[in-house]
Symmetry: C2
Subunit: 321 residues, 2 copies
């Protein structure tokens, strides 16, 4: 049983290097460029952890982990086009450095290469893995579409918001764990609990993300506090505040999202606090964490095998940066 | 053994109807809309023919045929974004009717659903099918990237042009036939010949396409003659003419591609004729057709099994519309 850090080192060593042919460079160099921007590689590493929870990691799972990371990067390249985002990980996005058609096509080909890695799986479970991979890929697309649809709506229900972040963020974490577990020989019950562990952890993670952006310690957070407020991003805090605010508060929030006044962040934060959504975020996050731990508890393997996942969960949801 | 028309009827009956979930409609309705625009469904039908050349069509091949048609439509949706094309099959393209982000995402999800159909294959040959499908998908992306790269170049070599149309058009026809043959139980030698038959037929088809756009009979062609010339599209005729023209002719062609003079088509056609590229197109097309027939000849099955493919080849390359 290895920790996230240990498996992460091992995965990154395997993942570094080229994944695409050399030619035509105009198509494949943008794809390689984006992969070189790095990232925490959380999804592929937890896929390995999902396998190791039940048995020694097999070669199939390493191929699958690479496919998962390529899929994730494909979604980022295309999301950046849709969001017109100029910067990712401190560097120019693909459409910004090259152009939109090239970014679109590099993303497409990255998804195809992800399926090339999946096709290396020799386990008879390959059908189950592809089924879950595809289902999840569709859900991630659905989440991104909802995110875009919801940009146009000023009042979004909390349940719609939660469904959107579940699809956009959590299901891939959950499925990465489950696909690793499938190849690790886990039974269906255990697979299901591991999926739910990942899903709840992902939701807690996203709510923590929303919270830190508004209420994080600037010294530790590393980014500008209030970035989501400035960009009018739908977050748990905004959606929940819109649900619980008084009429005048609601009116002020709607005005603020339409303005660029210099005290926009300060005023929005003060409404958030008055509505108590900072506390609500903490409570909901704890609820998801508790549910995640309960599902981990319910997995029928020796307790000590679960330690690396417990540590990872601690790290992900109690981070302050 | 059934003809292209018979199999086409059967395939279209199976293909009609929904391929996507109902919700979110903002994602899936654009995908369904595009499929409803129709098309000749050549690729999936020749996939069925590739199977039937060797044995009765199995269920796996119907799933694969649907995957191939979805893949083809995915490339069309994304190509239309990249080419900023407003019209496809007489109707608004997806990005035009909805918007670019939606078209991008609908295309993405269509590719994922294509892999869902592939995952229905139960034959142990599934790995070989996915391998060829992915390799072909990458080549189609490469062809599209080259097409965009070559738009910026005024003098393109004939071999670069032929490589580009091979990747963009021919390999998917060739692979559709071969994947059908794999599931039909064909041996490797027969598969290879069938692939080469499809590839050469595709090249002949594209050159015929270029020829008809310039020299077709307006009464039969159904589109405006000279459309490619007006849009400065790289065609066999233009590329070959640039290779064989005299200096003054070359200069005139370069000037014409930069102008929108009302006699642009007429003047370009007269240079094409002076350079003899109309004849060159016919000769090269015949060379490819001959090569296609030779490969079909070399396939070791009873000659009468090949009749439907022979008829299809006749229809594709001797059409005047």
């Amino acid at each position: 049983m290895r920790s996230f850090e240990e498996l992460s080192k091992e995965f990154i060593a395997k993942f570094n290097g080229r994944h695409f042919p050399a030619s035509p460079a105009s198509l494949y160099e943008p794809a390689e460029y984006f992969l070189r921007l790095g990232g925490k590689r959380i999804r592929p590493v937890i896929c390995l952890m999902g396998n190791e929870l039940f048995d020694e990691i097999i070669q199939d799972t390493y191929s699958l982990a690479i496919a998962i990371e390529l899929f994730h990067n494909f979604t980022l390249i295309h999301d950046d086009i849709m969001d017109k985002a100029p910067i990712r990980r401190g560097m120019a996005t693909v459409h910004e450095k090259y152009n939109e058609p090239t970014a679109l096509l590099s993303g497409d080909v990255m998804l195809v290469v992800a399926y090339n890695y999946i096709n290396k799986i020799r386990s008879p479970q390959i059908h189950q893995v592809i089924h879950l991979f595809n289902k999840t890929a569709m859900q991630v697309c659905e989440g991104q579409q909802m995110d875009m649809d919801y940009e146009k709506i000023s009042e979004l229900s909390l349940s719609d918001y939660l469904q959107m972040i579940e699809l956009k963020t959590s299901v891939l974490l959950a499925a990465s764990l489950q696909m690793g577990a499938i190849l690790g020989g886990a039974g269906e019950g255990n697979q299901k609990h591991l999926y739910e562990f990942g899903k709840n952890l992902g939701l807690a993670f996203q709510i923590q993300d929303d919270y830190l952006d508004a209420f994080g310690d600037p010294a530790k957070f590393g980014k500008q506090i209030g970035g989501d407020i400035l960009s009018n991003k739908k977050t748990f805090l905004l959606v929940k505040a819109m649900e619980t605010a008084t009429s005048p508060q609601k009116k002020e929030m709607i005005e603020l999202t339409r303005s660029n006044s210099p005290d926009k962040v300060k005023r929005m934060l003060s409404i958030f606090k008055a509505c108590g959504v900072d506390e609500a975020a903490k409570i909901l996050k704890e609820k998801y964490i508790e549910s995640a731990y309960q599902h981990l508890e319910d997995i029928l393997v020796l307790s000590k095998r679960k330690d690396p996942l417990k540590q990872l969960a601690q790290m992900l949801v109690h981070r302050e940066y």
